[in-house]
């Protein structure tokens, strides 16, 4: 193709080859941006990423089918054992690379700037609050004119990291109005189901009185709920999402290069938006093929670099990692050989 033809000559690096990864679809847009940046800098390199889902991505990585995986969740204990084997007895390098706010989106003509408390959100998605002019909603929005129309909650019909993060948030903060726990598969009947982030957005757009949850960057013109954190209402902005990493704790008892985050959903700190999705890229510390190791290392280095994070923020709407955090992550990447 035209845009590939001219590539050959002006390579500025000595890296070459093909790097294959697979996994979470949430990262896909960001990966595209990284591919562009990385391949432009290293024109003899091709990076491929199959957005087959986190589960599939981890599985294929563990089987040795891909060099790295994208995943909305870190590896569990079982997987860690398998990973040891896959990585020639070395540890995995597992780093959060993509942090993005999940917005609670709604379509209710005449109502802008909806604000909701976690308890109310939980009750809406649980199906216990069914009309827009419910007192609970009215309490959060004293100024809004709420119609007497039914609420149609929209959730994901496919299993997804977005659902898992959203339900994790509800479980932690709803004070019991959400009862179904933190799960990947939407656990309760009732409401609308839609496939993928874009499906949820489309469903919310096409019906009136709908409310759903989706990656904030894809919400388009839809209203985004400001959720109650502590005593104030926080909208899903990149900055607010980025700040959540500062409040997150690293999960204990894992290898040093395996940076698994426990996000504090119950934070009351001002200006922090707690419904975020953190997506990881998972690689090995050692590879049999040193060229492969080289590539992976260069790739991850770029991904977490300031440039890389900026590119992702621009074209995927993610929250860039803070400088402190990038340093910590880079240390893990540097162990790859």
């Amino acid at each position: 193709a035209e845009n590939e033809a001219g590539d050959g000559g002006e390579s500025s690096s000595d890296l070459s080859g093909t790097l294959n990864g697979a996994g979470a679809s949430s990262q896909q847009a960001a990966v595209s941006a990284w591919q562009q940046g990385f391949q432009t800098a290293n024109s003899d390199v091709t990076v491929n990423y199959d957005p087959i889902g986190s589960g599939g991505g981890r599985e294929q990585f563990l089987e040795g089918g891909t060099s790295f995986a994208g995943s909305d969740a870190y590896l569990d204990d079982d997987e860690l054992t398998q990973a040891k084997e896959r990585c020639n007895d070395s540890d995995v390098v597992s780093i959060p690379v993509y942090v993005s706010p999940i917005a609670v989106i709604y379509n209710l003509p005449g109502v802008e700037d909806l604000q909701l408390s976690p308890q109310t959100i939980g009750a809406i998605f649980e199906g216990t609050i069914t009309t827009w002019n419910d007192p609970a909603i009215a309490e959060d929005n004293p100024d809004a004119e709420l119609p007497d129309s039914p609420i149609t909650p929209v959730h994901r019909s496919d299993d997804s990291g977005t659902t898992e993060n959203f339900t994790e948030y509800l479980e932690a903060t709803s004070e019991g109005s959400w009862t179904a726990g933190a799960v990947e598969t939407w656990p309760i009947q009732g409401g609308e189901a839609a496939n993928g982030t874009s499906g949820v957005v489309a469903a919310v757009e096409s019906g009136e009185g709908t409310i759903g949850y989706a990656d904030a960057s894809q919400a388009g013109d839809l209203g985004k709920v400001a959720v109650k954190v502590g005593e104030e209402y926080v909208a899903p902005t990149e900055e607010a999402a980025a700040r959540v990493l500062d409040t997150a704790e690293q999960v204990e008892g894992r290898a040093e290069t395996d940076i698994a985050l426990h996000i504090d959903r119950t934070t009351t700190e001002s200006g922090v938006y707690p419904i975020v999705l953190a997506s990881y890229q998972i690689a090995c510390q050692t590879y049999e093929d040193s060229a492969e190791a080289e590539l992976v290392k260069a790739w991850l280095t770029y991904v977490v670099s300031e440039d890389g994070q900026q590119a992702a923020a621009e074209s995927a709407g993610s929250a860039p990692l803070s400088d402190d955090f990038r340093e910590k992550v880079q240390a893990a990447i540097d162990t790859i050989s």
Binding site: G56, S157, D159, G161, A202, G207
Partner: protein, 311 residues
């Protein structure tokens, strides 16, 4: 009998032997492929069937898991075929015997195009156009026919119901059935059409006397192809249907049974371990389902084989 025994050992020419051998080999390849698929489904699926509820993500026994899916698959396919077959036969007949000839060729061509639309586009069309357009219709159905369980409601606010999915499926299988039926209708021997007309048959009676009996097995085959597609369609249903694993005959609410194929697509991405096996096992169930349906259809065709149109 002596002569039959002799016939078997009759030498054949090399050309014939090769050609026949190739044909048999092709047939056996299909057998092998199917055996491969069946083997794959069985080997990978059995652990999923046997898995205990706490080993899999859906947290139920396989039977409990798959029954609603089978229900949804059948419901969607039956609805789709019930809508598609009559329309497809009508369209085929229109093109082959009703439309002005010059127009007919073009029309056939245009309908064939429907077969080419990628399922993703059907999915998007289903969500963005069809479902939206049907919302008021579903509202009306709920208000006026709500006493029938099929339309009990509450009507979906976005229109992404199993009925919508079935309509999308019907549109998808329509060209498959139409194209085959049309070719077959066109092949009806002149001789027989004329025989019917000469008896003073109207055009419709001619169709009943000469065309349909002749095309019977073809229509069934075409419908089977359509059924196959309806049962197995993945992406379009996954995108259009607001699915949750329930069993309900309510066609217009937002809580709908899922289908096997769509469910695989929706859950496969994030599935690991035995859950994957369970999904593949559900594929095996679909496979068996197709087996049964076809068995029934075959039985119907075989019954009147003596009267087949060839000759």
């Amino acid at each position: 009998m002596q002569s039959t025994a002799r016939k078997r050992s009759t030498p054949t020419r090399p050309g014939d032997r090769i050609f026949r051998g190739t044909s048999v080999a092709a047939a056996l390849t299909i057998l092998a492929t199917l055996a491969g698929v069946a083997l794959f489904l069985t080997v990978e699926g059995i652990p999923g069937v046997l898995a205990s509820p706490d080993e899999v993500k859906h947290g139920t026994t396989f039977i409990d898991y798959v029954v609603p899916l089978v229900f949804g698959t059948l419901l969607a396919a039956v609805l789709a075929l019930a809508m598609a077959i009559p329309v497809a036969i009508g369209v085929a007949l229109y093109i082959s015997h009703y439309a002005p000839r010059r127009l007919a060729a073009t029309l056939g061509y245009v309908i064939d195009l429907l077969a080419a639309v990628p399922s993703v586009v059907y999915g998007v069309w289903g969500i963005s156009f069809l479902a939206t357009a049907l919302v008021p219709v579903y509202g009306w159905l709920e208000r006026t026919l709500g006493f029938i369980p099929l339309f009990a409601g509450p009507a979906s606010a976005t229109g992404r119901t199993i009925l919508t999915a079935s309509i999308v499926l019907a549109v998808m299988v329509l060209p498959v059935i139409t194209a085959l039926c049309r070719e077959i209708f066109l092949q009806t021997p002149r001789l027989h059409e004329e025989a019917a007309l000469a008896l003073g048959a109207t055009r419709w009676e001619m169709a009943k006397l000469a065309i349909f009996p002749y095309a019977r097995s073809g229509i069934i085959s075409a419908s089977m192809l359509g059924l196959g597609r309806a049962l197995g369609e993945t992406m379009a249903v996954a995108m259009v249907l607001s699915a949750s694993g329930v069993i309900t005959v309510n066609l217009i609410s937002s809580t709908n049974p899922s289908t096997i194929a769509a469910n695989i697509a929706l859950t496969f991405n994030e599935a690991t371990g035995l859950t994957v096996n369970a999904l593949i096992a559900s594929g095996l169930v679909l496979f068996l389902l197709t087996f049964l349906v076809n068995f029934a259809a075959r039985a119907i065709v075989e019954r009147r084989k003596d009267f087949s149109g060839a000759n």
